[in-house]
């Protein structure tokens, strides 16, 4: 009987090289950041000033929180399209509780704590629903969260128009709006909040069994199940945390706008998913980190800000951002093909 001998390692070296390059999107992102910043600075010298950079940094915090939440879901090979709608919903619910213009707890000492609780609770609630549908009814995440997005964004508009005559809820107490730009000592409150989320998420992903389970499920759910991973519970937890992060992010955005509005961040969805992909969180699951989320958010925000600075029209901004997200997605697909051999 003719038998096969070892396959000659023809492509092996080449494949490994490409895989290594692709598996470190951090370098690409940092390189792009530097090049882009220099290019914009050449055009508008004020761009590299400390004021601008710290402003960029402060402005990206709520986006980062939302992207970290999204990363949890993407690592288990899911996607949550409902985050922005969830942000709008939590914004109007919490706003209706806190507003001085006829809020449920207007002028009460409880207004701000209850408002903050509403952001977290309703965010988690929408996430929990998504997670249960995905894990237990085995619905595709795309459809579940797309439907939740429509439902929740509709509900948010209905709620706010039922609660007030105009579309948005103003008159939020200053104790709450301080979250947006207030400081504790010399440090921005939003920064402290974000750092807490970043540290907890990073620790959770890298140092706990829960984090490792996310990666295992994202790569191969059947194998995870056979290996004794509580797959469904972990999936539900990822979606719930994603919703909670959306609520937290909405809290900072609402505080900054001093307004509860159902359309709080309705155009932010692609920024959220795009940031994650740019940083190297895979659309196909099983890969991602808090650092990746941060780099993605940083690059996208700097690009956005730079083009605002130059004064380019929105449509140029949209095209450039879209092109970069598309490229990142292409790289992601290539990485999958060359590195992880998953087809």
């Amino acid at each position: 009987m003719v038998s096969d001998t070892t396959v000659p390692p023809r492509k092996q070296g080449y494949r490994v090289l490409i895989a290594r390059l692709l598996s470190e999107p951090a370098f690409t992102v940092i390189g792009l950041l530097v090049v882009y910043t220099l290019a914009v600075t050449a055009a508008v010298p004020g761009f590299l000033g400390a004021g601008t950079l710290s402003a960029i940094f402060i402005s990206l915090l709520p986006l980062l929180i939302a992207v970290i939440g999204q990363s949890f879901v993407m690592i288990v090979a899911g996607i949550d399209l409902s985050v922005t709608a969830t942000m709008g919903l939590t914004s109007v619910i919490a706003g209706s509780v806190m507003t001085a213009n006829g809020g449920y707890l207007a002028d009460s000492a409880l207004a701000v704590p209850v408002g903050i609780f509403c952001f977290l609770f309703f965010g988690a609630l929408v996430g929990l629903f998504n997670g249960l549908c995905v894990a237990f009814i085995r619905m595709p995440p795309f459809i579940v969260t797309l439907a939740t997005m429509m439902f929740v964004s509709g509900a948010a508009v209905l709620y706010s128009s039922w609660h007030t005559t105009s579309v948005s809820i103003g008159g939020l107490p200053s104790g709450f709006t301080r979250i947006g730009y207030g400081t504790i000592g010399p440090i921005a409150f939003a920064l402290i909040l974000t750092v807490l989320v970043v540290v907890a998420a990073d620790f959770g992903l890298r140092r706990t069994t829960w984090g490792r389970w996310l990666f295992a499920i994202g790569n191969n759910p059947t194998a995870a199940l056979i290996s004794g991973v509580p797959v469904r519970a972990v999936q539900v937890s990822a979606y719930t945390l994603c919703g909670t992060c959306a609520g937290l992010s909405a809290m900072i955005y609402s505080a900054r706008l001093e307004t509860g509005t159902p359309v709080l961040s309705q155009n932010l969805l692609l920024d959220i998913i795009g940031s994650a992909v740019i940083g190297g969180v895979s659309l196909f699951g099983g890969r991602g980190s808090v650092l990746a989320a941060f780099l993605g958010v940083l690059l996208l925000t700097v690009i956005d800000k730079g083009m605002q600075f130059i004064g380019l029209t929105l449509f140029v901004v949209l095209s450039v951002k879209g092109a970069i997200i598309l490229l990142a997605a292409v790289l992601d697909a290539l990485r999958l093909r060359y590195a992880e051999g998953k087809s």
């Binding site: 038998s3 070892t6 396959v7 295992a216 191969n220 004794g228 992880e340």
Partner: protein, 511 residues
């Protein structure tokens, strides 16, 4: 040994039904400590179901299992492992995105504090290194798993099981994606495990492996355990007979006699840089030309070039039915060439479509039809019926049932059959029986012989020399992209040793 009194593992009277169809009937067998038990059977005979029951993935409808004499009732995969039964699945449960250590410890991370889910990374690496050593796998615990070769992944999986101190390990088709040296390595590890008193349950299609390695063989057929015998008391024919359920007088049909030699395809000096070098041969109508050679010898590449799937920009000529020919897949189909590719599941079959649609696929893109020609539904169905009849495809409904509802052997026939709708004159078959069971193989052999008898020229590429010897008129041996010799059938057979020597000789020279 007192293990003789109480077997290591024993199951009896196991029944199992899926949605009303019974797939296991009173299955039972036993295994002793350190014993190698081969489990064989055709596809659908109930091997996987049985093993999944033992592994705790499925629950039996009735029956009992005992481990060292104690009742064993697993309800989930973890229970099996905790009881000491490891399971190496055919589809390896590897997480390519994670490190070796993570793969090893995924379900049982060492924790920093008992009650909190924080991983002790040091303990994780240490335990992993220890387990890797036990199977002799020399990779870093921190290496990402996507960088491992298939054999290393297999060993990793074994290490994962071994590190949990199993008493018995089930291997489900462990060699399908392994190279020869990797297989040898695997067998060494298994022998070592046996020596440690671990019972081995080994499922495989590769009868020669099972015959060589096992102490005892259990044969499953249609959900019944039809044989459980010491391996030394079994002949190969005896095994096959038990699997197929009828005497195997002859697995291979008679090779039809060749009449006047009328070449269908003639290849002269075909050269393609780094792939083929000066390959010449011809195939006549009614002739089966076997192509032997090691993997990477250029067999499949030759076929792909002939069919225009890979580019040919080197020298050499191809003439088809007497006329020079520059192949492209569309041309080939319209000139009545047919090609059964190696990777049938991905390239050959629309699994969710009906048989009629599948059978019609080639015809639709073939001679005389274009995007503008309306599809004649009646003609389609009658074509399909005709082919199904010729190939004896067993299907209840040609129009509505999806291809995936068929058994493996019948799926194979559909892939073959879709090329027959247009009555081809040359049929290239690349590994037509890879991964299918004996019964289905036999059917395919019969079809090949019949087609040749009807005047088709057949180019048969196979890794199994036995298969080539059973079906071919002549065998061309390839090595390193060259035709290194053509053997003629003599006295109803071939000199297999000579062919083997020729196929490997060039390789040795090269090395």
């Amino acid at each position: 040994m007192d293990a003789k009194a109480v077997p290591l593992f024993e199951c009896s009277g196991i029944n199992k039904s899926f949605s009303g169809t019974q797939v296991l009937f009173d299955v039972g067998f036993a295994i002793k400590a350190g014993e190698f038990l081969g489990v064989i059977g055709e596809n659908g005979s109930g091997k996987s179901t049985t093993m999944n029951i033992i592994g705790g993935i499925l629950r039996p409808d009735s029956g009992e299992m005992r481990l060292n004499g104690d009742a064993y009732v697993p309800t989930q995969p973890n229970d099996a492992m905790e009881a000491g039964i490891g399971f190496i699945h055919q589809e390896l449960n590897i997480f390519g995105n994670m490190s070796v250590a993570d793969n090893m410890m995924i379900g049982r991370y060492p924790r920093r504090w008992e009650k909190l889910p924080f991983i002790n990374h040091r303990a994780k690496r240490l335990a992993t290194a220890e387990a890797l050593k036990r199977v002799g796998l020399d990779v870093s615990p921190d290496a990402p798993c996507w960088s491992l070769a298939p054999g290393e992944r297999q060993l990793l999986e074994i290490a994962k099981v071994v590190s949990q101190n199993p008493r018995m390990i089930i291997f489900d088709e462990p060699t399908t994606s392994l190279t020869e040296p990797e297989c040898r390595r695997l067998f060494e590890v298994i022998a070592d495990l046996q020596a440690q008193g671990i019972g081995i349950v080994y499922i495989s299609h590769v009868l020669s492996d099972v015959q060589r390695l096992s102490d005892r063989i259990v044969v499953l057929r249609d959900g019944h355990a039809v044989k459980s015998t010491a391996t030394r008391d079994l002949t190969r024919d005896g095994i096959v007979e038990a699997m197929v359920g009828r005497p195997v007088s002859q697995l291979y049909p008679d090779v039809p006699p060749l009449g006047e030699r009328r070449p269908v395809i003639e290849v002269q000096g075909l050269t393609q840089p780094r792939v083929l070098k000066d390959v010449s041969f011809s195939i006549a109508a009614g002739e089966v030309l076997g192509v032997a050679g090691l993997m990477g010898s250029g067999r499949s590449e030759l076929a792909r070039i002939l069919f225009g799937l890979d580019p040919h920009d080197g020298t050499g000529t191809i003439s088809y039915e007497g006329a020079p020919f520059d192949p492209s897949p569309r041309d080939c189909v319209s000139k009545r060439m047919a090609f059964l590719t190696e990777d049938r599941r991905h390239e050959g079959l629309l699994l969710t479509q009906s048989l009629t649609t599948n059978l019609e696929l080639v015809h639709l893109s073939g001679a005389g039809s274009g995007a503008h020609v309306p599809v004649d539904r009646k003609q389609q169905v009658s074509n399909a019926e005709d082919v199904a009849h010729r190939l004896r495809i067993k299907a209840r409904d040609l129009v509505r049932l999806p291809a995936k509802s068929l058994s493996g052997g019948n799926q194979q026939k559909v892939v073959l059959g879709k090329w027959l709708v247009d009555a081809p004159r040359l049929f290239i078959l690349d590994e037509p029986t890879r991964g299918i069971d004996v019964g289905a193989k036999e059917e395919i052999y019969r079809v090949i012989a019949e087609l040749a008898g009807q005047g088709l020229a057949v180019m048969l590429i196979s890794s199994e020399l036995e298969e080539l010897a059973g079906l071919s008129h002549r065998i061309m041996v390839m090595s390193r992209g060259m035709n290194v010799g053509v053997f003629e059938r003599q006295d109803g057979g071939f000199d297999r040793a000579a062919i083997m020597a020729r196929a490997t000789a060039a390789d040795v020279e090269a090395a």
